[in-house]
Amino acid sequence: MDKLIFGRYIPGTSWIHRLDPRAKLLATMFFIIIIFLANNWQTYLLLLLFTLLAVKLTDIKFSFFINGVKPMIWLILFTVVLQVLFTSGGETYFQWGPIMVTSQGLLNGVFIFCRFVLIIFMSTLLTLTTMPLSLTDAIEYLLRPLTKLKVPVYEIALMLSIALRFVPTLMDETEKIMNAQRARGVDFGEGNIFQQMKAIVPLLIPLFVSSFNRAEELATAMEARGYQGGEGRTKYRQLHWQTSDTIVMLTFAVLTGALIFLRN
């Protein structure tokens, strides 16, 4: 566990970076839905061009986006191969029992591949250009209507912020406990599965105890600063919806229209 190359956010001042996190979150979620509208090469091409344009606008090196795909690449290729081998329809190039390679299958393979890569690119784009805490603010804002249904939205958002904030702290804590155990002769990540499990168990209890202790300290600090629930709490980070955010929303509306028009 290397020292905090933490989160995936890459600071920057590109047009995409400066967008309101609410706009980015909405747009990304919307993209993942409308990608299922694409069903022919025109629609996929359109989405591909759109995604590449968005990637270009981030001013982030393309390799970061490729890195987002890497951990998934085997699963994706595997999916593509199966899609190719088990889809019938169109011209048949090869057949052996239930296994066949058809024009429809090849086409579907390419489409599935595109779908994956595009979804990964878009979600990578969101997390590379938006700070986790900004995303939490966006979620809080977007969930706000649920307060009417007595859902504790402010509290939920605060829990998420605390979680994001304390991941690095607990990581350090974990490292300390691991070192303490190492000093007593424990080998982490070695031996068979049972030995590995046995090495991890003595980590868990101290981790839980230390989480509870930190929570206790944090709660005391919150109360000392007069925390008394969500409604009417003022904010350190303010969100500002700007024209460029409206433009993003409109662009997505146009994109959806185009997809519906172009799809089969």
Binding site: M72, L82, I119, P152, L160, M197, L204, I205, A219
Partner: protein, 179 residues
């Protein structure tokens, strides 16, 4: 929504447990050729035992989202898995909140989660996402769950009845931290 009052203490405990969930899910896992065993389910189960199903469900969904914010999740985001995360944690609360943490109960909980969430819902999501490939992914997942479920039962029972932890939190009557 069950009556859990979200005071500073509750919020802090849940926040920290979600952070622990993230660390155990994304940074600590035992990788074997067949399965990846992570312990992210333990903080979820803990939240369930402490605060009941609804709060645990929300915390589960939050942990899933935060995982995506911080670590990019496990690649492609699909909202179905957030729902699965909600339900999984919900069941921990449903069966273990203010209940004795006996072997029978823990086994029941893990069984329900494995069948309904891991094998039921998640299979559905995989079919939606991967189409044909689900045919091959689902059997391997069946095997994985067969291996992981007993480990979950052992670990949850261990954590729930651990004397050191019991000295810090009250797990039976739903109150948070012993003063």
């Amino acid at each position: 929504m069950k009556k859990v009052t979200y005071d500073a203490r509750t919020i802090a405990v849940i926040g920290l447990l979600i952070a622990l969930d993230l660390i155990l899910t994304h940074l600590f896992a035992i990788q074997t050729p067949i399965v990846r065993i992570s312990f992210g389910f333990l903080p979820s189960a803990m939240i369930g035992m402490l605060f009941g199903p609804w709060t645990a469900g929300i915390a589960g969904a939050l942990a899933d989202l935060a995982g995506i914010f911080l670590f990019g999740g496990s690649g492609a985001y699909f909202p179905g898995f957030t729902l699965s995360a909600f339900l999984g944690s919900f069941f921990y609360g449903f069966y273990l909140y203010k209940k004795p943490k006996t072997w029978g109960r823990v086994i029941l909980t893990v069984l329900v989660i494995t069948l309904v969430v891991n094998l039921g819902l998640n299979t559905l999501w995989l079919v939606i996402m991967y189409d044909q490939a689900a045919r091959v992914i689902v059997p391997t997942r069946l095997l994985q769950n067969l291996i992981v479920a007993p480990i979950r039962v052992l670990m949850i029972h261990y954590i729930a009845n651990h004397p050191r932890l019991r000295s810090v939190v009250k797990l039976d009557d739903g109150e948070t931290i012993k003063r």
